[in-house]
């Protein structure tokens, strides 16, 4: 075990995957010599060289389109999109091609790849360095979407994603890239995709969160406990396909549900989770499900801490929901 932050853990996973399988290539803007603008690919260029750690021209469509071709050939591309806010020039390739290759070719081809990209706000990034666009990808059939919250999961889930037969969007919560630290085993291990984690047990109310907001949910849960409310906090880890069993089990236990995400409320992932819970556990609900999310505005700069669904907004939601009759 070594203490690592998320940047180091993801870097470690990439190194292990690249040592093990020479088909794994890292490509993107500034991923080479400089090791990525967040230093996640640091040192890989020195170890694996220019052919496997590739600084590309400035074109996300080019990066993902070329990665599709490499995948069809049999390589395992792990492209980086520098900020998820800049993924849109590649959206056509991701939605029309990456997601549909297996289906449209009758299972003959796949464009298996792991697209890594930092997500989320709270770093003074304004509109274009803060968004959390999971909903736009979950909605597309054929993509898996992962968003770990800590170094252990980040490493294990990145290795699981690289081993997975399907294309994965691997969202890295950049606000806690360095702040989230923890013990990480040396060498290879995987954390299975599609497995949520109950990170705090409680019987009064369930809070579902992921990525950087998990820490806000935990903070609020701690404060609620001081007022006698026991909150169960579920870290989804994989957003899609979601671990529905863990969610339903928790809701059946508490009867009360709060979903936290940074992305805007309308058509956010919370909407889907509420629907699923209503479909599968409606008669167990004792209070209306609540979404604590970003607002339906573009991501602001100066007021970003007011925009984000931080602990100060989650706590009242927990108290209200737990006390609702």
């Amino acid at each position: 075990m070594t203490q690592m932050n998320m940047v180091q853990a993801i870097n470690d996973a990439l190194r292990i995957a690249m040592r093990k399988d020479e088909r794994v290539v890292v490509m993107g803007e500034d991923v080479g010599k400089v090791g990525g603008v967040f230093r996640v690919t640091s040192g890989l260029y020195d170890e694996f060289g220019d052919a496997r750690v590739v600084d590309t021209p400035l074109s996300e469509g080019g990066i993902i389109g070329a990665a599709v071709g490499m995948a069809l050939y049999g390589m395992i591309p792990v492209p980086e999109i520098q900020f998820s806010d800049f993924i849109w020039p590649a959206y056509d390739q991701i939605v029309s091609e990456v997601a549909k290759y297996r289906y449209r070719s009758g299972g003959e081809y796949t464009s298996k790849m792991v697209i890594r990209t930092p997500v989320g706000g709270g770093i003074r990034g304004g509109h274009y360095h803060s968004q959390h666009p999971e909903a736009q990808f979950i909605h597309v059939a054929g993509l898996k979407v992962v968003c770990p919250s800590n170094p252990y999961d980040a490493k294990g889930m990145l290795l699981a994603s690289i081993a997975d037969p399907d294309p994965v969007l691997f969202f890295e919560p950049k606000r806690v890239y360095r702040a989230a630290k923890g013990d990480v085993p040396e060498g290879e291990y995987t954390v299975p995709l599609e497995s949520a984690a109950v990170v705090r047990e409680g019987q009064h109310v369930t809070v579902i969160a992921y990525g950087a907001m998990l820490y806000e949910a935990l903070d609020a849960a701690q404060k609620a406990a001081e007022q006698g409310i026991e909150t169960e906090v579920v870290d989804l880890r994989t957003l899609w396909p979601v671990d529905i069993e863990t969610i339903i089990a928790s809701v059946k236990k508490t009867g009360r549900l709060i979903i936290v995400h940074e992305a805007p409320k309308t058509c956010g992932f919370g909407s889907e989770l509420v629907s699923l819970v209503c479909e599968k556990a409606f008669y167990h609900l004792e209070a209306p499900p609540v979404r604590v999310t970003g607002y339906d505005t573009p991501f602001p700069y100066t007021l970003e801490m007011e925009y984000l669904p931080l602990s100060h907004r989650i706590l009242p939601a927990i108290l209200d929901t737990a006390r609702a009759v």
């Binding site: 803007e29 080479g32 400035l58 074109s59 806010d85 309308t266 505005t297 100066t302 007011e306 100060h312």
Partner: protein, 377 residues
């Protein structure tokens, strides 16, 4: 400018050595493409370049002190930016990238408002919604800065095209780095401009770097200018650290556009003397010695040598100018820093022309709820 000179500047193929240059590094002028600026004009532009550089300096310091969140500057690229903006006529418009605050100020954006944007305060033209250096100034016919690379290029084409359809004599000039020539938008923009002969001027600031990625990773072409030729857009390479040459080629491109001859791609060869932004540490990927040849070509020093030769601007005047700018910046920064943040309500405004029910509801919810513990300002 004579038409013979015009032909020599826009060629059917662009070679490495076809770089338009007027001002020698020693401060002498080549008469062939001299834009014929008056002494007052040169002094005015030099003063503006000094202002731009001192603003850059100050903003880097403020970022280092944690007083602003970010700055992306134009150190070394002042002539390419200010020369091209100066060539514009009153009716022309600018579609910026993110390094062109010098152009915005030259075209009339108040320095106060620019600094307000750096602090994201209540007087910020974009109401604290975007990062520093992402501002707008419609009064100066200056577009809205956006981070996603290249998006302004096609928009400048559409703006110019609209003016052409409406038979208005105006030109839309757009800036981008050489990295942006790899984006979809560059290719769409040049193609549409070529097909519809739009009055657009494309200024590619070839500053050598897209963050840590050098030019040879953006293209295998010998030049960026020759990409225009493939789209039927005449192209020219210019010494981007030569204010006079930049003005001359931009004026020529505007003249062509105005005469119905369509767009021009200008590759301004310059160098990013600083980091990409305050978030970047260039020592990780760029050997310091690479800067050496460019120190000599510093756009400000070159004009100063010319001014010295002409005796138009003394060292004492320069000293006075710097002292004045310093004092002015101190006052304006203090005022901007003291200005409160935008109101909470402002977060929900301008999403739509009229606020729909759900935003009214969310705004009320925010106002009624507890305040965030760690607002930045």
């Amino acid at each position: 400018m004579t038409s013979a000179a015009h032909e020599s500047m826009f060629t059917a193929s662009v070679h490495d050595d076809d770089v338009v240059r007027v001002l020698g590094t020693d401060g002498t002028l080549d008469a062939r493409n001299d834009p014929g600026l008056s002494p007052e004009e040169v002094v005015h532009l030099y003063r503006h370049m000094v202002l731009t550089r001192l603003v850059d300096d100050r903003l880097v310091t403020l970022q280092r002190q944690g007083r602003i969140g970010f700055h992306i500057g134009s150190l070394g690229e002042e002539a390419a930016i200010i020369g091209s903006a100066y060539a514009l006529r009153k009716q022309d418009w600018l579609f910026p990238c993110y390094r062109e605050f010098g152009a915005a100020l030259l075209r009339g954006m108040p320095l106060e408002r620019y600094l307000d944007n750096m602090f994201g305060n209540a007087n910020d033209p974009v109401k604290g919604r975007q990062m520093p250096d992402h501002y707008t100034c419609k009064a100066a016919q200056f577009g809205s800065v956006s981070s996603p690379i290249g998006t302004q290029i096609t928009q400048a084409v559409g703006f110019a095209w609209a003016a052409k359809i409406q038979k208005q004599d105006l030109v839309a000039l757009t800036y981008f780095g050489e990295g942006a020539t790899s984006s979809n938008e560059f290719h769409n923009g040049l193609n549409f401009a070529g097909v519809f002969k739009t009055p657009t001027v494309f200024i590619c600031r070839n500053n050598g770097w897209a963050i840590s990625v050098p030019t040879e990773r953006q293209t295998a072409s010998r030049t960026f200018a020759e990409k225009g030729i493939a789209y039927g857009v005449p192209s020219v390479r210019v010494d981007g650290n030569d204010l006079f040459a930049v003005i001359a080629v931009t004026r020529d491109a505007i003249r062509r556009a105005s005469a119905g001859e369509g767009s021009t791609l200008i590759e301004a060869i310059t160098y990013r003397m600083g980091g990409h932004s305050t978030s970047d540490d260039p020592t990780r990927y760029r050997d310091k010695s690479l800067l050496d040849p460019w120190a000599d070509r510093d756009p400000l020093a070159r004009i100063k040598r010319y001014l010295d030769k002409q005796g138009w601007f003394t060292d004492a005047e320069e000293q006075k100018l710097r002292t004045e700018i310093d004092a002015r910046l101190r006052d304006l920064v203090e005022a901007s820093e003291k200005t409160p943040p935008p109101s909470l309500e402002s977060m929900f405004e301008d999403v739509y022309a009229e606020q729909p029910w759900h935003l009214r509801e969310q705004c009320a919810e925010l106002l009624a709820g507890p305040r965030a513990p760690s607002a930045h300002h």
